[in-house]
Symmetry: C2
Subunit: 228 residues, 2 copies
Protein backbone atom coordinates (compact mmCIF):
# COMPACT_ATOMS: atom_id res chain seq x y z
CA UNK A 1 0.00 0.00 0.00
CA UNK A 2 1.20 3.51 -0.79
CA UNK A 3 0.55 5.61 2.30
CA UNK A 4 0.83 9.35 2.89
CA UNK A 5 1.29 10.56 6.44
CA UNK A 6 0.52 14.26 6.81
CA UNK A 7 2.20 15.82 9.83
CA UNK A 8 5.71 15.43 11.20
CA UNK A 9 5.06 15.37 14.96
CA UNK A 10 5.18 12.34 17.22
CA UNK A 11 1.87 10.97 15.86
CA UNK A 12 3.04 11.24 12.25
CA UNK A 13 6.43 9.73 13.07
CA UNK A 14 4.85 6.85 14.97
CA UNK A 15 2.30 6.02 12.27
CA UNK A 16 4.90 6.33 9.49
CA UNK A 17 7.38 4.08 11.30
CA UNK A 18 4.74 1.44 11.92
CA UNK A 19 3.42 1.47 8.36
CA UNK A 20 6.94 1.27 6.93
CA UNK A 21 7.72 -1.59 9.32
CA UNK A 22 4.69 -3.45 7.98
CA UNK A 23 6.16 -3.16 4.47
CA UNK A 24 4.07 -0.30 3.11
CA UNK A 25 5.57 2.45 0.96
CA UNK A 26 5.34 5.56 3.10
CA UNK A 27 5.95 9.23 2.47
CA UNK A 28 5.53 11.97 5.03
CA UNK A 29 4.04 15.32 4.09
CA UNK A 30 5.02 18.67 5.55
CA UNK A 31 4.50 22.32 4.70
CA UNK A 32 8.14 23.19 3.98
CA UNK A 33 10.51 20.28 3.43
CA UNK A 34 13.72 22.31 3.70
CA UNK A 35 12.57 24.02 6.91
CA UNK A 36 11.44 20.70 8.44
CA UNK A 37 14.83 19.11 7.76
CA UNK A 38 16.52 21.92 9.70
CA UNK A 39 14.50 21.18 12.86
CA UNK A 40 16.76 19.28 15.25
CA UNK A 41 15.47 20.08 18.75
CA UNK A 42 13.46 17.36 20.51
CA UNK A 43 10.08 18.39 21.96
CA UNK A 44 9.22 18.70 25.66
CA UNK A 45 8.47 14.95 25.85
CA UNK A 46 11.80 14.00 24.27
CA UNK A 47 10.30 13.11 20.89
CA UNK A 48 12.85 13.75 18.14
CA UNK A 49 12.43 16.75 15.87
CA UNK A 50 11.56 15.87 12.31
CA UNK A 51 14.96 16.90 10.95
CA UNK A 52 16.59 14.32 13.17
CA UNK A 53 13.89 11.72 12.58
CA UNK A 54 14.15 11.74 8.76
CA UNK A 55 17.90 11.15 8.97
CA UNK A 56 17.26 8.02 11.01
CA UNK A 57 14.34 6.82 8.88
CA UNK A 58 15.58 7.01 5.29
CA UNK A 59 12.85 4.67 4.04
CA UNK A 60 10.24 7.40 4.68
CA UNK A 61 10.72 10.27 2.26
CA UNK A 62 9.82 13.75 3.45
CA UNK A 63 7.86 15.63 0.77
CA UNK A 64 5.31 18.44 0.57
CA UNK A 65 1.69 17.89 1.64
CA UNK A 66 0.74 18.01 -2.02
CA UNK A 67 3.36 15.49 -3.13
CA UNK A 68 2.45 13.20 -0.23
CA UNK A 69 -1.28 13.23 -1.03
CA UNK A 70 -0.58 12.66 -4.73
CA UNK A 71 1.56 9.61 -3.85
CA UNK A 72 -0.68 8.02 -1.24
CA UNK A 73 -3.49 5.59 -2.00
CA UNK A 74 -4.51 6.28 1.60
CA UNK A 75 -3.82 9.44 3.61
CA UNK A 76 -3.26 9.60 7.38
CA UNK A 77 -4.03 13.02 8.83
CA UNK A 78 -1.61 13.30 11.74
CA UNK A 79 -1.41 17.08 11.77
CA UNK A 80 -2.16 19.16 14.83
CA UNK A 81 -5.91 19.76 14.82
CA UNK A 82 -5.71 23.51 14.39
CA UNK A 83 -3.68 23.12 11.18
CA UNK A 84 -5.52 20.11 9.74
CA UNK A 85 -7.84 21.81 7.27
CA UNK A 86 -5.02 24.03 6.04
CA UNK A 87 -2.69 21.07 5.57
CA UNK A 88 -5.34 19.14 3.65
CA UNK A 89 -6.07 22.20 1.53
CA UNK A 90 -2.38 22.42 0.67
CA UNK A 91 -2.48 18.68 -0.11
CA UNK A 92 -5.13 19.51 -2.67
CA UNK A 93 -8.70 18.32 -3.20
CA UNK A 94 -7.71 16.71 -6.47
CA UNK A 95 -5.11 14.59 -4.67
CA UNK A 96 -7.56 13.47 -1.99
CA UNK A 97 -10.58 12.70 -4.15
CA UNK A 98 -11.73 9.10 -3.87
CA UNK A 99 -9.12 8.32 -1.21
CA UNK A 100 -9.49 7.35 2.41
CA UNK A 101 -8.36 10.01 4.89
CA UNK A 102 -7.71 8.35 8.24
CA UNK A 103 -8.24 11.32 10.53
CA UNK A 104 -6.26 10.82 13.74
CA UNK A 105 -6.19 14.50 14.65
CA UNK A 106 -7.90 16.30 17.52
CA UNK A 107 -9.01 19.95 17.58
CA UNK A 108 -6.96 20.75 20.69
CA UNK A 109 -6.46 24.42 21.52
CA UNK A 110 -3.44 25.00 23.75
CA UNK A 111 -3.58 28.79 23.36
CA UNK A 112 -5.69 29.30 26.50
CA UNK A 113 -3.45 27.30 28.81
CA UNK A 114 -3.54 23.76 30.09
CA UNK A 115 -5.42 21.52 29.92
CA UNK A 116 -6.40 22.37 26.34
CA UNK A 117 -9.92 23.17 25.17
CA UNK A 118 -11.31 22.22 21.75
CA UNK A 119 -11.49 24.60 18.79
CA UNK A 120 -14.59 22.83 17.52
CA UNK A 121 -17.00 20.62 19.47
CA UNK A 122 -20.52 19.81 20.60
CA UNK A 123 -22.58 20.38 17.43
CA UNK A 124 -19.66 19.85 15.05
CA UNK A 125 -16.28 18.13 15.01
CA UNK A 126 -13.04 18.23 13.11
CA UNK A 127 -13.73 14.85 11.53
CA UNK A 128 -17.02 15.93 10.02
CA UNK A 129 -15.65 19.37 9.08
CA UNK A 130 -12.90 17.64 7.07
CA UNK A 131 -15.54 15.44 5.41
CA UNK A 132 -17.61 18.55 4.55
CA UNK A 133 -14.64 20.40 3.07
CA UNK A 134 -13.34 17.35 1.18
CA UNK A 135 -16.60 15.73 0.09
CA UNK A 136 -14.92 13.45 -2.44
CA UNK A 137 -12.60 11.92 0.14
CA UNK A 138 -13.70 9.14 2.50
CA UNK A 139 -12.92 10.35 5.99
CA UNK A 140 -12.59 7.69 8.69
CA UNK A 141 -11.99 9.02 12.18
CA UNK A 142 -9.81 6.59 14.09
CA UNK A 143 -7.16 6.23 16.82
CA UNK A 144 -7.59 9.80 18.12
CA UNK A 145 -8.48 8.70 21.65
CA UNK A 146 -5.03 7.68 22.88
CA UNK A 147 -1.31 8.35 22.97
CA UNK A 148 0.35 7.49 19.65
CA UNK A 149 2.53 4.72 21.11
CA UNK A 150 -0.63 2.71 21.81
CA UNK A 151 -2.22 3.44 18.44
CA UNK A 152 0.28 1.23 16.66
CA UNK A 153 1.06 -1.16 19.50
CA UNK A 154 -2.00 -1.85 21.64
CA UNK A 155 -0.28 -4.91 23.13
CA UNK A 156 1.85 -2.51 25.17
CA UNK A 157 -0.86 -2.47 27.89
CA UNK A 158 -3.44 -4.89 29.29
CA UNK A 159 -2.50 -7.63 26.85
CA UNK A 160 -3.83 -5.45 24.03
CA UNK A 161 -7.35 -5.72 25.45
CA UNK A 162 -8.79 -2.18 25.33
CA UNK A 163 -11.04 -0.15 23.08
CA UNK A 164 -10.74 1.93 19.95
CA UNK A 165 -13.35 3.53 17.72
CA UNK A 166 -13.95 4.16 14.05
CA UNK A 167 -16.59 6.28 12.37
CA UNK A 168 -17.18 7.49 8.85
CA UNK A 169 -19.75 7.62 6.10
CA UNK A 170 -18.22 5.00 3.80
CA UNK A 171 -18.67 1.42 4.95
CA UNK A 172 -15.95 -0.04 2.73
CA UNK A 173 -13.47 2.64 3.86
CA UNK A 174 -14.14 1.66 7.48
CA UNK A 175 -13.55 -2.01 6.65
CA UNK A 176 -10.20 -1.09 5.11
CA UNK A 177 -9.21 1.04 8.11
CA UNK A 178 -10.20 -1.79 10.45
CA UNK A 179 -7.87 -4.08 8.50
CA UNK A 180 -5.03 -1.62 9.07
CA UNK A 181 -5.89 -1.40 12.78
CA UNK A 182 -5.82 -5.18 13.00
CA UNK A 183 -2.39 -5.14 11.36
CA UNK A 184 -1.31 -2.79 14.17
CA UNK A 185 -2.46 -5.40 16.70
CA UNK A 186 -6.04 -4.35 17.47
CA UNK A 187 -8.48 -7.20 18.07
CA UNK A 188 -11.67 -7.04 16.00
CA UNK A 189 -13.79 -7.15 19.18
CA UNK A 190 -12.09 -4.02 20.50
CA UNK A 191 -12.78 -1.87 17.42
CA UNK A 192 -16.18 -0.25 17.88
CA UNK A 193 -17.83 1.25 14.80
CA UNK A 194 -19.85 4.23 16.05
CA UNK A 195 -21.54 4.96 12.72
CA UNK A 196 -21.21 7.97 10.44
CA UNK A 197 -18.64 10.75 10.63
CA UNK A 198 -20.78 12.94 12.95
CA UNK A 199 -19.78 10.49 15.68
CA UNK A 200 -16.35 12.15 15.64
CA UNK A 201 -18.04 14.50 18.11
CA UNK A 202 -17.99 11.66 20.61
CA UNK A 203 -14.39 10.59 20.21
CA UNK A 204 -13.04 14.16 19.99
CA UNK A 205 -15.02 15.31 23.05
CA UNK A 206 -13.52 12.45 25.03
CA UNK A 207 -10.16 14.27 24.79
CA UNK A 208 -10.95 16.69 27.63
CA UNK A 209 -11.28 13.62 29.88
CA UNK A 210 -8.16 12.02 28.40
CA UNK A 211 -5.97 15.05 29.08
CA UNK A 212 -7.20 15.12 32.69
CA UNK A 213 -6.54 11.44 33.32
CA UNK A 214 -3.09 12.04 31.80
CA UNK A 215 -2.72 15.01 34.15
CA UNK A 216 -3.18 12.65 37.09
CA UNK A 217 -1.25 9.63 35.84
CA UNK A 218 1.50 11.59 34.01
CA UNK A 219 1.90 8.60 31.72
CA UNK A 220 0.31 8.43 28.28
CA UNK A 221 0.33 4.65 28.18
CA UNK A 222 -3.29 4.21 29.27
CA UNK A 223 -6.54 3.71 27.43
CA UNK A 224 -10.17 2.97 28.13
CA UNK A 225 -11.71 -0.43 27.80
CA UNK A 226 -15.46 -0.63 27.40
CA UNK A 227 -16.65 -3.25 29.89
CA UNK A 228 -20.16 -4.66 30.23
CA UNK B 1 -26.74 10.44 57.45
CA UNK B 2 -29.56 12.74 56.39
CA UNK B 3 -29.55 12.88 52.60
CA UNK B 4 -31.50 15.03 50.16
CA UNK B 5 -31.96 13.75 46.64
CA UNK B 6 -33.01 16.49 44.23
CA UNK B 7 -34.78 15.16 41.16
CA UNK B 8 -37.38 12.45 40.75
CA UNK B 9 -36.23 10.72 37.57
CA UNK B 10 -34.53 7.36 37.32
CA UNK B 11 -31.22 8.72 38.67
CA UNK B 12 -32.89 10.28 41.71
CA UNK B 13 -34.96 7.16 42.34
CA UNK B 14 -31.92 4.90 42.05
CA UNK B 15 -29.72 7.00 44.35
CA UNK B 16 -32.54 7.43 46.91
CA UNK B 17 -33.32 3.72 46.97
CA UNK B 18 -29.69 2.81 47.45
CA UNK B 19 -29.08 5.38 50.20
CA UNK B 20 -32.25 4.29 52.04
CA UNK B 21 -31.18 0.66 51.70
CA UNK B 22 -27.89 1.54 53.35
CA UNK B 23 -29.80 2.91 56.32
CA UNK B 24 -29.61 6.62 55.62
CA UNK B 25 -32.54 8.97 56.17
CA UNK B 26 -33.52 10.10 52.70
CA UNK B 27 -35.91 12.71 51.35
CA UNK B 28 -36.49 13.45 47.71
CA UNK B 29 -36.98 17.00 46.46
CA UNK B 30 -39.23 18.06 43.62
CA UNK B 31 -40.67 21.30 42.30
CA UNK B 32 -44.33 20.54 43.00
CA UNK B 33 -45.04 17.67 45.37
CA UNK B 34 -48.75 17.38 44.57
CA UNK B 35 -48.13 17.40 40.81
CA UNK B 36 -45.31 14.83 41.14
CA UNK B 37 -47.57 12.44 43.06
CA UNK B 38 -50.08 12.52 40.22
CA UNK B 39 -47.51 11.31 37.67
CA UNK B 40 -48.18 7.61 37.03
CA UNK B 41 -46.92 6.91 33.49
CA UNK B 42 -43.61 5.06 33.17
CA UNK B 43 -40.99 6.64 30.90
CA UNK B 44 -39.83 5.30 27.52
CA UNK B 45 -37.34 2.97 29.24
CA UNK B 46 -39.99 1.54 31.59
CA UNK B 47 -38.79 3.45 34.65
CA UNK B 48 -41.71 4.13 36.98
CA UNK B 49 -43.15 7.64 37.20
CA UNK B 50 -42.47 9.36 40.49
CA UNK B 51 -46.12 9.14 41.62
CA UNK B 52 -45.95 5.38 41.38
CA UNK B 53 -42.44 5.17 42.85
CA UNK B 54 -43.24 7.11 46.05
CA UNK B 55 -46.16 4.81 46.77
CA UNK B 56 -43.77 1.83 46.64
CA UNK B 57 -41.00 3.56 48.60
CA UNK B 58 -42.72 4.99 51.67
CA UNK B 59 -39.41 5.37 53.55
CA UNK B 60 -38.39 8.17 51.16
CA UNK B 61 -40.55 11.23 51.73
CA UNK B 62 -41.29 13.45 48.74
CA UNK B 63 -40.91 17.12 49.65
CA UNK B 64 -40.09 20.42 47.92
CA UNK B 65 -36.56 21.22 46.77
CA UNK B 66 -36.34 23.73 49.62
CA UNK B 67 -37.54 21.29 52.30
CA UNK B 68 -35.22 18.60 50.97
CA UNK B 69 -32.14 20.84 51.05
CA UNK B 70 -33.02 22.08 54.53
CA UNK B 71 -33.27 18.47 55.75
CA UNK B 72 -30.17 17.03 54.09
CA UNK B 73 -26.69 17.11 55.56
CA UNK B 74 -25.61 16.17 52.04
CA UNK B 75 -27.42 16.95 48.80
CA UNK B 76 -27.42 14.79 45.65
CA UNK B 77 -28.19 16.76 42.51
CA UNK B 78 -29.98 14.23 40.31
CA UNK B 79 -31.96 16.73 38.31
CA UNK B 80 -31.87 16.92 34.55
CA UNK B 81 -28.92 19.16 33.67
CA UNK B 82 -30.96 21.90 32.04
CA UNK B 83 -33.01 22.33 35.24
CA UNK B 84 -30.20 21.93 37.76
CA UNK B 85 -29.37 25.55 38.54
CA UNK B 86 -33.07 26.38 38.81
CA UNK B 87 -33.73 23.45 41.15
CA UNK B 88 -30.78 24.40 43.36
CA UNK B 89 -31.95 28.02 43.38
CA UNK B 90 -35.37 26.85 44.55
CA UNK B 91 -33.61 24.72 47.17
CA UNK B 92 -32.11 27.95 48.48
CA UNK B 93 -28.53 29.11 48.96
CA UNK B 94 -29.09 29.26 52.71
CA UNK B 95 -30.04 25.56 52.74
CA UNK B 96 -26.99 24.54 50.73
CA UNK B 97 -24.33 26.62 52.49
CA UNK B 98 -21.57 24.51 54.01
CA UNK B 99 -23.04 21.29 52.60
CA UNK B 100 -21.70 18.88 50.03
CA UNK B 101 -23.57 18.86 46.73
CA UNK B 102 -22.85 15.60 44.93
CA UNK B 103 -23.48 16.69 41.36
CA UNK B 104 -24.47 13.68 39.26
CA UNK B 105 -26.15 15.71 36.54
CA UNK B 106 -25.12 16.26 32.94
CA UNK B 107 -25.91 19.29 30.76
CA UNK B 108 -27.58 17.20 28.07
CA UNK B 109 -29.66 19.05 25.50
CA UNK B 110 -32.21 16.82 23.80
CA UNK B 111 -33.98 19.73 22.09
CA UNK B 112 -31.94 19.43 18.89
CA UNK B 113 -32.54 15.73 18.36
CA UNK B 114 -30.55 12.62 19.17
CA UNK B 115 -27.90 12.07 20.21
CA UNK B 116 -28.00 15.05 22.61
CA UNK B 117 -25.53 17.93 22.59
CA UNK B 118 -24.38 19.75 25.74
CA UNK B 119 -25.82 23.08 26.90
CA UNK B 120 -22.49 24.03 28.44
CA UNK B 121 -19.05 22.61 27.63
CA UNK B 122 -15.45 23.15 26.57
CA UNK B 123 -14.43 26.24 28.60
CA UNK B 124 -17.05 25.73 31.31
CA UNK B 125 -19.14 22.91 32.79
CA UNK B 126 -22.27 22.42 34.79
CA UNK B 127 -20.30 21.27 37.82
CA UNK B 128 -18.20 24.42 38.00
CA UNK B 129 -21.17 26.64 37.15
CA UNK B 130 -23.02 25.20 40.15
CA UNK B 131 -19.94 25.82 42.31
CA UNK B 132 -19.78 29.44 41.06
CA UNK B 133 -23.45 30.08 41.74
CA UNK B 134 -23.39 28.36 45.15
CA UNK B 135 -19.95 29.35 46.42
CA UNK B 136 -20.68 28.32 50.01
CA UNK B 137 -21.56 24.76 49.03
CA UNK B 138 -18.92 22.11 48.38
CA UNK B 139 -19.64 20.71 44.94
CA UNK B 140 -18.25 17.27 44.16
CA UNK B 141 -18.88 16.03 40.64
CA UNK B 142 -19.30 12.26 40.68
CA UNK B 143 -20.98 9.29 39.00
CA UNK B 144 -22.15 11.28 35.95
CA UNK B 145 -20.31 9.05 33.47
CA UNK B 146 -22.60 6.02 33.52
CA UNK B 147 -26.13 4.64 33.65
CA UNK B 148 -27.64 5.01 37.13
CA UNK B 149 -27.97 1.28 37.74
CA UNK B 150 -24.18 1.01 37.74
CA UNK B 151 -23.65 4.07 39.92
CA UNK B 152 -25.01 2.28 42.95
CA UNK B 153 -24.13 -1.27 41.98
CA UNK B 154 -20.82 -1.42 40.10
CA UNK B 155 -20.60 -5.17 40.76
CA UNK B 156 -23.28 -5.62 38.11
CA UNK B 157 -20.56 -5.72 35.42
CA UNK B 158 -16.94 -6.90 35.14
CA UNK B 159 -16.81 -7.96 38.78
CA UNK B 160 -17.14 -4.30 39.77
CA UNK B 161 -13.78 -3.55 38.18
CA UNK B 162 -14.25 -0.33 36.17
CA UNK B 163 -13.62 3.37 36.61
CA UNK B 164 -15.37 6.34 38.16
CA UNK B 165 -14.22 9.90 38.76
CA UNK B 166 -14.56 12.60 41.38
CA UNK B 167 -13.55 16.23 41.25
CA UNK B 168 -14.17 19.25 43.45
CA UNK B 169 -12.42 22.06 45.27
CA UNK B 170 -12.83 20.71 48.82
CA UNK B 171 -10.53 17.83 49.69
CA UNK B 172 -12.53 16.68 52.74
CA UNK B 173 -15.77 16.74 50.75
CA UNK B 174 -14.18 14.46 48.15
CA UNK B 175 -13.06 12.07 50.89
CA UNK B 176 -16.64 11.90 52.20
CA UNK B 177 -18.04 11.30 48.71
CA UNK B 178 -15.47 8.57 48.11
CA UNK B 179 -16.67 6.90 51.32
CA UNK B 180 -20.22 6.93 49.97
CA UNK B 181 -19.02 5.52 46.63
CA UNK B 182 -17.23 2.75 48.47
CA UNK B 183 -20.46 1.97 50.36
CA UNK B 184 -22.10 1.59 46.92
CA UNK B 185 -19.46 -1.01 46.03
CA UNK B 186 -16.76 1.03 44.30
CA UNK B 187 -13.19 -0.09 44.94
CA UNK B 188 -10.82 2.67 46.08
CA UNK B 189 -8.47 1.90 43.17
CA UNK B 190 -11.25 2.55 40.67
CA UNK B 191 -12.15 6.03 41.98
CA UNK B 192 -9.92 8.57 40.22
CA UNK B 193 -9.69 12.05 41.73
CA UNK B 194 -9.20 14.42 38.79
CA UNK B 195 -8.60 17.52 40.91
CA UNK B 196 -10.67 20.68 41.26
CA UNK B 197 -14.20 21.26 39.98
CA UNK B 198 -13.07 22.57 36.57
CA UNK B 199 -12.34 18.94 35.76
CA UNK B 200 -16.10 18.47 35.41
CA UNK B 201 -15.41 19.58 31.85
CA UNK B 202 -13.69 16.26 31.32
CA UNK B 203 -16.36 13.99 32.76
CA UNK B 204 -19.27 15.93 31.24
CA UNK B 205 -17.66 16.06 27.78
CA UNK B 206 -17.28 12.28 27.89
CA UNK B 207 -21.07 12.07 27.63
CA UNK B 208 -21.13 12.60 23.84
CA UNK B 209 -19.03 9.44 23.57
CA UNK B 210 -21.17 7.61 26.14
CA UNK B 211 -24.42 8.29 24.28
CA UNK B 212 -22.85 7.00 21.05
CA UNK B 213 -21.54 3.79 22.59
CA UNK B 214 -25.04 3.36 24.07
CA UNK B 215 -26.44 3.99 20.58
CA UNK B 216 -24.45 1.00 19.32
CA UNK B 217 -24.85 -1.37 22.28
CA UNK B 218 -28.44 -0.36 23.17
CA UNK B 219 -27.71 -1.40 26.75
CA UNK B 220 -26.76 1.08 29.45
CA UNK B 221 -24.97 -1.52 31.57
CA UNK B 222 -21.48 -0.63 30.32
CA UNK B 223 -18.72 1.55 31.62
CA UNK B 224 -15.11 2.43 30.88
CA UNK B 225 -12.18 0.98 32.73
CA UNK B 226 -8.93 2.86 32.60
CA UNK B 227 -6.25 0.30 31.75
CA UNK B 228 -2.51 0.82 31.68
Amino acid sequence: MKAAVLGTGSVGQTIATRLAGLGHQVVMGTRDVAESKLRKTADAFGNPAIGEWVEKNPSVKLVTFKEAAAFGEIVFNCTKGVYGIEALTLAGKENLAGKIIVDISNPLDFSKGMPPTLTISNDNSLGEEIQKQFPNAKVVKALNTMWCGLMVNPAMINGGDHSTFVCGNDQDAKVQVKTILKSFGWAEKNILDLGDITNSRGTEMYLPLWVRVFGVTQNGAFNIKIVS
